[in-house]
C-alpha cells in the first residue's frame, strides 16, 4: 500500500461515570438508546431498517459489505452503521442523497457478477439482494462484461452452494466458526475470485447446526437440498409454531403451501433459541404431511368391525358407556407430543371418570447436542416437546429410551383404558382387549387400536392451536398451519366435550379457554393466559415469581 492512514489517539481515559443512554438524531427523528448501541440497531428502534448483508445480530461484524454506510454529520467518510456506535448529538442520515447514492453504487457492484437467475432461484421473493435492488438500485444496469462463474457445489448436509449468487458477506463462515464452533467453511482466494468453500472433501457432513447458514444467507447462494425447487417464497404461508422434535422448544415458523408443510425455519427468540435451530428439528416435518390419517370417529360394532360415525353418535355412545363404568379405575397412556391443553383435558377426563393413572412414553437420546456459541440452546435429551408439561400434570414416564415397553399393566387392565397420541408401535392387536372400555384418541390407526371400542380422530400440533412447556418450564404457543383432515378435531375440544357432559362444567370453546381452565386447575401453569404468552412464550408465575429461570440468550 502506498498510503498508511494515520493512527489516531486511543480513546480518552475514563472520566466521570458515563451516562447510560445516548441521544442522537436519525433522519430527523430523535432517538435515545443505551450507550454502545450501533447506529444500525438504534435505527431499528424507530423502524428504520438500514440495508445490510454482513451484519447479523448473532455474529461478529466485519463491516465489509459496505451497504449499511450512513452519513454521519462531521465524519469525512460515510460510516458503517453496523459497527459505528452512537454518540450524543450525533446526526445520522440513512436516506440522504449521499447515503442513497452510496447504496445504489454498492448495489450496482453486487450485480456486476450476480447471475440474476431469480426465475430459478429458491431465494427469489425473500432475497435481500432482490429486495434492495428493487427498492433502491439503478433502474438499468451498466454491466456488459462477461460474468464470473463458480458453478454449484454440494457442501454436504442439507446445504447446496451456488457460488455465482454469493455476495461474500461471510455470514456462513462466521456462523460455523463463531456459533457452531466447527470451522468447516472458509473463504478461498481473494479479490473477486473469493469464494466460500469447504475444506477438501470434509464438507458439512456430521455438523448439527449447519442448516442455519441457509437461513442467514441473504441471497440464494446457500440453499436447502430438501427444499430445492419445492415452492416459491411468495406462495408460502408462514405460521408461528414451536419445534416438536425435542424439549428445547425452539420457536419456528412452518412454511406451508397447499396444506403441506414445505419447510421449517427458526423464529427469533433470544430467550430460547436465538436465531437458530438444529438440523434434526429442521428436517423433522414430513410427519405433519402424512396422508394415512383417521378422518372420522370409529365405533366398534358387535361383529368386531369398525364403523365410521358422526361425532355426536361417537361421543354419545361413549358417554353412555362411560357413565355405566364411572368409578372403574382408569389407565391412560399419553404422548409427550400432545399440547398442555390436550393433556390437561385428558387429566380432567380421567378425574371425571373417577381417577386413575396416567403414564407417558417418550424417546430419549443419550447426549445433548449443545450449540457451542449459544450454549443455552441444545438439542435436548427428551425428544418430545411437552415432557415437562406432562410431568407438571402429574403424569409419569414409563418404558425404555426408545419409547417402547412399560405398558404391561395397561395392556391387561380390565377397567377403562384411554390412549392419547401414543402410536403404540410396539403393541399388537391384543392391546386393550381385556378392557371394559378402550378409547383410542389419535391421528393414525395402529394395529394396537383394533380392540378399541371407540377411536377418536384428533389433530396434530401443526393443525391446532395450543401450548408446549419446554424443558425450562417456559410455556410457548403455536398456531394451526394446516387444515385438519376430515373430521379430526383438537383433543382438548373432544375430551373437553366429554368432561363437560360428565361433570357438568363449561365446555372450552377455544384453546385459550382450555388453557385458562388448565391454569386455574394446575398451579404450575398459573399466572399465564394466551394474550400474555404472545408469540414468544413466558414462564408461569406463582405468587409473582417465575417457576424456573428461563434460558437467557447469549
Amino acid at each position: 500500500m502506498s498510503t498508511t492512514p494515520p493512527t489516531s489517539a486511543p480513546t480518552a481515559a475514563p472520566s466521570a461515570p458515563a451516562p447510560a443512554t445516548v441521544t442522537l438524531t436519525i433522519d430527523g427523528q430523535t432517538v435515545t438508546v443505551p450507550k454502545g448501541t450501533t447506529i444500525l440497531e438504534a435505527a431499528k428502534t424507530i423502524g428504520t431498517k438500514v440495508p445490510h448483508y454482513c451484519y447479523h445480530p448473532g455474529l461478529s461484524s466485519p463491516a465489509m459489505c459496505r451497504l449499511c454506510l450512513v452519513e454521519v454529520e462531521g465524519a469525512p467518510k460515510p460510516q458503517p452503521g453496523c459497527v459505528t456506535t452512537v454518540a450524543d448529538n450525533q446526526v445520522v442520515r440513512t436516506v440522504s442523497d449521499k447515503a442513497l447514492g452510496n447504496r445504489q453504487g454498492v448495489l450496482e457492484f453486487y450485480l456486476v457478477n450476480h447471475p440474476l437467475d431469480c426465475p430459478i432461484c429458491d431465494m427469489s421473493g425473500e432475497c435481500d439482494l432482490q429486495n434492495y435492488v428493487h427498492a433502491e438500485g439503478r433502474e438499468h444496469g451498466r454491466g456488459v462484461e462477461p460474468k464470473r462463474v463458480f458453478g454449484r457445489d454440494d457442501f454436504g448436509g442439507d446445504v447446496l452452494f451456488y457460488g455465482d449468487r454469493c455476495v461474500m458477506c461471510t455470514r456462513c463462515v462466521r456462523f460455523m466458526s463463531e456459533v457452531e464452533k466447527d470451522e468447516r467453511l472458509t473463504v478461498v482466494e481473494r479479490g473477486n475470485r473469493s469464494v466460500i468453500d469447504t475444506f477438501f472433501d470434509e464438507g458439512l457432513d456430521g455438523t448439527h447446526w449447519s442448516g442455519n447458514i441457509v437461513d442467514i444467507c441473504p441471497v440464494g447462494a446457500l440453499v436447502s437440498k430438501a427444499f430445492l425447487h419445492k415452492a416459491r417464497a411468495w406462495d408460502l404461508e408462514h405460521t408461528p409454531s414451536v419445534c416438536a422434535s425435542c424439549s428445547q422448544g425452539c420457536n419456528v415458523e412452518l412454511h406451508t403451501r397447499d396444506n403441506v408443510v414445505q419447510r421449517v425455519k427458526p423464529r427469533e427468540n433470544l430467550d430460547v433459541n436465538g436465531w437458530w435451530m438444529c438440523d434434526y428439528g429442521r428436517a423433522d416435518y414430513e410427519w405433519m404431511n402424512e396422508g394415512d390419517r383417521i378422518e372420522a370417529p370409529l365405533v366398534r360394532q358387535a361383529d368386531g368391525s369398525s364403523k365410521a360415525v358422526a361425532w355426536k353418535e361417537a361421543l354419545g355412545g361413549l358417554l353412555a358407556r362411560a357413565k355405566e363404568l364411572q368409578g372403574r379405575p382408569v389407565k391412560a397412556v399419553v404422548s409427550a407430543r400432545a399440547s398442555n391443553e390436550d393433556l390437561g383435558a385428558l387429566a380432567e377426563l380421567v378425574g371425571a371418570l373417577g381417577g386413575g393413572e396416567i403414564v407417558y412414553r417418550s424417546p430419549r437420546s443419550a447426549e445433548e447436542i449443545v450449540l457451542q456459541g449459544f450454549p443455552t440452546l441444545a438439542r435436548r435429551k427428551d425428544l418430545a416437546p411437552n415432557v415437562k408439561g406432562a410431568e407438571l400434570l402429574g403424569m409419569h414416564r414409563v418404558g425404555a429410551d426408545d419409547a417402547t415397553g412399560g405398558l404391561d399393566k395397561v395392556r391387561a387392565h380390565d377397567g377403562i383404558v384411554v390412549v392419547l397420541g401414543d402410536a403404540l408401535a410396539d403393541q399388537d392387536e391384543r392391546f386393550g382387549a381385556s378392557a371394559a372400555l378402550y378409547v383410542y384418541v389419535g391421528t393414525q390407526l395402529p394395529v394396537a387400536a383394533r380392540a378399541a371400542h371407540v377411536v377418536l380422530p384428533v389433530t396434530t400440533h401443526a393443525e391446532q392451536e395450543g401450548t408446549f412447556t419446554n424443558h425450562a418450564g417456559r410455556v410457548q404457543r403455536f398456531w394451526p398451519a394446516l387444515t385438519a383432515p376430515g373430521m379430526a378435531r383438537p383433543a382438548w375440544l373432544v375430551l373437553g366435550a366429554l368432561v363437560g357432559e360428565l361433570s357438568g362444567e363449561a365446555v372450552p370453546r377455544t384453546a385459550a379457554d382450555a388453557y385458562a381452565a388448565l391454569a386455574e386447575a394446575v398451579p404450575a401453569f398459573g399466572g399465564l393466559a394466551y394474550p400474555k404468552l404472545g408469540a414468544r412464550g413466558a414462564l408461569p408465575m406463582i405468587s409473582g415469581a417465575a417457576v424456573s429461570s428461563g434460558a437467557k440468550g447469549a
Binding site: 500500500m1 502506498s2 498510503t3 494515520p6 461474500m168 479479490g191 473477486n192
Partner: protein, 438 residues
Amino acid sequence: MAYPYVSDKEARVVSQGFGDPKQRRIDTYVERGGYGALKKAFGLSPDAVVDVVKASGLRGRGGAGFPTGVKWSFMPKQPTKPHYLLCNADESEPGTFKDRELMRWNPHQLIEGCLIGAYAIRAKHVYIYCRGEFFETNQVLARALEDAYAKGYVGKNILGSGNDIDVTVHQGAGAYICGEETGLMSSLEGRRGLPRVKPPFPAAYGAFGMPTTINNVETLCAVPHIVANGGDWYRQWGSEKSPGTKLFCVSGHVNKPGNYELPLGFPLASLIEDVCGGMRDGNSLKAVIPGGSSVPILNAEEAMSCKLDYEGCVTAGSMLGCASVIVMDHTTDIVKAVRRMVDFYAHESCGQCTPCREGSSWTAQIMRRIEDGDGTEADLDTLMQITQQMVGTTICVLSDSVAPPVQSSIKKFRGEYLARMKAARSTEVPVAVPAGVA
C-alpha cells in the same frame, strides 16, 4: 562507489551504505558509528526520544506522511499490556524499491531504528514484516539479526542497559494487502491478510489485540540518524512541513533509473534531467507518476513544475506517496499502462469490501475492453463514476487507490482513450443486421 547510479545532488543519510557490501556486516556498521544512537537513546527517557523525533518533523515514509513522533506519542505511557512495534517491510507498491535496498545494504540501520522505536513506545518486541518475495533481503536480515543478538545489541539487557527488546523477522507470503497496516497485523497473527475496521486504532488495539505502532522501513532507518544528530540537524533538508531527506525510486524511461536520496522539495524536473540523466534516447516526457501507482498521474507540464515534497505534489495535482517516481516518455501507451495498474489492484484486492472486490475487477474489465478497441465514450463516464464509488467507501484505502490512475488519465489523456474507441477505428467493419432485428 558507484551504486548503480549516484548523483552529487544527493543528500545521503539513510542510503549511506548503498553499494558497499561491507556495510551490512555488523563489525563495519559498529566501526562506522552504528548502534551509537541506540546507546544515546537508552540514556534518554522514552518520551525524550519521542520528543527528538517530533522535533525533527520526520513524517511516515510509507506513503501517508503522518508525523512519526506524533504517532509514537499515541501509545499508552503506562503500559498495562505488552506493546508491539511493527516494521512494515512488505514493500509492494508498484514502482517502489527503496525498502528492499535499505534492508539489503544496511540491515543494522533498520534493526537499530527498530530498537530505538521500540524503546520510545515501550515495546519489548519488534516484528519486521518482510515481503515474501524479498528472498535475499530476508536472508540478509536474518543474518544481521543473528549477529546483533550475538553481540548483545538485541535481546535481553541490551548493552547492559537493562532494556529487553526482541526482534523477529516475519516473512510474508506475497500479498499487497498485507502492506496495509491492519492487514499486516491480521497476517502476522496467522489469519488471512484482511484489513480491519478502524476504530479501534492500532495504538489502542493492534497486533494480537495489544497497543501497536507500525512504521515503514525508511522511517525507522532515519530514526538512528535523527537521534544521533538531533532534530534540528534533520531539518537542514527539506521544508518546514516536509523536513529531511527522502529516497526517490525512479523507474521508467530515464537514462539512469534508481534510488536517489534527495532533500524533500527537490524539483521533479531536476530529478529527471540532472539526477537521472534525462529521458532515454532524448525522447520527450509524457507523464510522471510521482508517488507509486496509487496516486494521480501528472502530465509533462504539471511534472515540470512539481516540487517533490508532501505539499508540492498536492499542489501539482498528485501525491508524494512513497516517492516512487515512474517516468513515461512519449512512446508510452497510457491506456495500457493504466489498465496494467488496475489489473494489479483487481488481483490484489482482498475481497472483503464490495466496492473494491467488484469495482476493481469491473474497472479492469472495462479498461481491457477499451484497450482492445471495443470501448465506447460512455465507458469513460462509467469508469469515472464507478471509480468514484470506490473512494472512501471501504475498510482500507486499496479501493481508493484505483481511482487516481484511472480518473487522472481519463482527464489528462482523454484523447488517447478516444483514439482507442470502436468509433475511431478505421478498420471497423459494419456488421450486417438481419432484417427484423432492431
